[in-house]
């Protein structure tokens, strides 16, 4: 019985470790070797430090520990100073974060000065793996209405799909149910970009005219057709064009301009002048 219990606990600990490793490895990009090196160091360094200490003792190189009292006093003073510095650092970090948010708002306002906008923060994200909606902290009390366009510093985020008094739900353009009529800015060809399940950073561009020349790196922006999004808001850039046997079926993958995983601040266009 005791053995079984012990085995169970070991099993759980191993499972937790596997889970943490899985999460870390699948979400870390590149630089994994230095990461492994760090982990290896964790195991090796304490032993290495111990060996060095013993080596110093044996070779008589232990004068470092001679004046223990003065070292203790010095250590206390340094600790005190350190806590003071940590406190001021924390205060500075708070001020820095506030400053960053305000800067973001100002940048966004400048960029989209033709529109009347309202800044908002993302307070909740979709818990499903099959859709991409977010909740923002402004609602009908702030003048938010259904179908208003939501943008960020780099481009289009999505549109409002439901509103409560103090919050609003935004369907992002990477959501699988989203379809935005847009155009390739260089050729003015109209296309439709849709969210996919595969990758939440990319969009699938379909209904590409057969005579359209679509090139990698072409910019995609809203066309103004469809009644929700105003014209000329940047969506992303063409990353790959996939040609099929039937030219009407060809499609392109568009890299979204907005990084939805790091998105925290948005602007709601309250008067787009559509």
């Amino acid at each position: 019985m005791y053995k079984n219990k012990k085995k169970g606990i070991i099993g759980i600990v191993i499972t937790i470790l596997i889970l943490i490793l899985l999460v870390i490895f699948t979400n870390t990009n590149g630089n994994q070797m230095s990461y492994i090196e760090n982990i290896c160091n964790v195991f090796v360094m304490p032993i290495q430090n111990g060996i060095t200490y013993l080596k110093n003792k044996i070779s008589g190189n232990d004068s470092f520990f001679a004046d223990m009292d003065s070292l203790k006093q010095e250590n206390d003073e340094l600790r005190k100073k350190n806590s003071e510095l940590e406190q001021s650092l924390r205060e500075l970090e708070i001020i820095k974060a506030e400053n960053e948010t305000l800067k973001e708002y100002v940048n966004l306002k400048d960029k989209y000065k033709d529109y009347t906008t309202l800044p908002a923060d993302i307070i909740n994200r979709d818990i499903s793996n099959y859709s991409s909606t977010v909740v923002i902290n402004v609602g009908s009390k702030d003048g938010i209405e259904k179908n208003m366009t939501v943008i960020a510093d780099n481009g289009l985020v999505g549109h409002i799909i439901s509103v409560t008094d103090n919050t609003a739900q935004v369907q992002t353009i990477v959501d699988t149910a989203s379809a935005v009529t847009s155009k390739i800015s260089t050729t003015e060809d109209t296309i439709v970009v849709q969210g996919t399940l595969d990758d939440k950073t990319k969009l699938k561009a379909t209904f590409i005219p057969t005579d359209a020349v679509v090139l990698q790196g072409d910019s995609v922006e809203t066309s103004g057709i469809g009644g929700i999004y105003p014209k000329g808001i940047h969506i992303g850039t063409i990353e790959e064009v996939i040609n099929t046997n039937n030219p009407t079926d060809r499609y392109a993958m568009v890299k979204a301009a907005v990084d939805f995983t790091k998105l925290n601040t948005v602007l709601v266009i309250t008067n787009s002048g559509k």
Partner: protein, 177 residues
């Protein structure tokens, strides 16, 4: 009185789980895929507290999730209610004393829940059916749910038996005596 306290604790636990799911698991993901701990929670209630409590709490919690973050009100409520019902059916037919059977139940319920929600989305929101991508996500999500189940299994057993004593005590007596 004991039942009321138990239900209140279940409701409180739901909110804790809600915050864990919407804050922690939105970044603690496996290849960008998050688990669904609501399925684990409702199956746990269905298994140990019985179908009545499982269905009622499943429906209420599901509707709450739909109201707060969902796009269409109803589907999570229906599917979580169904998981509550499945919990009771599985309890009658299989032993929940084995970690393996609990894991199988969890995998089945995750697949049923996600399949139901996805197909409902495809039909009502006119979403393109992406079968391969859906299966990939579903497999990862199921694995993630299984890992969590393995970790919390001892806790599930201990709390589950307390829940069973509260809600099913009379039934056990009539069954065996």
């Amino acid at each position: 009185m004991r039942k009321v306290v138990a239900i209140l604790l279940l409701v409180l636990s739901f909110f804790i789980i809600y915050f864990i799911q919407s804050n922690f698991f939105t970044w603690f993901t496996i290849a960008g895929i998050q688990p669904n701990i609501f399925v684990i929670y409702i199956l746990f209630i269905g298994l140990f507290a019985g179908k009545k409590i499982g269905i009622i709490l499943g429906v209420i919690f599901g509707f709450y999730i739909d109201l707060v973050i969902g796009r269409q009100i109803g589907i999570s409520g229906i599917m979580l209610g169904l998981i509550g019902l499945i919990g009771e059916i599985l309890d009658k037919n299989f032993s929940k004393e084995s970690r393996f059977t609990i894991m199988l139940m969890m995998a089945t319920c995750t697949v049923i829940y996600e399949l139901g929600c996805y197909l409902f989305n495809v039909v009502t929101l006119d979403v393109n059916l992406e079968i391969i991508s859906f299966i990939k996500i579903l497999i990862l999500e199921t694995i993630y749910n299984l890992i969590i189940t393995i970790i919390i299994y001892p806790l599930m057993q201990n709390l589950g038996h307390l829940l069973e004593e509260t809600f099913k005590a009379k039934k056990i007596l009539t069954r065996y005596f």
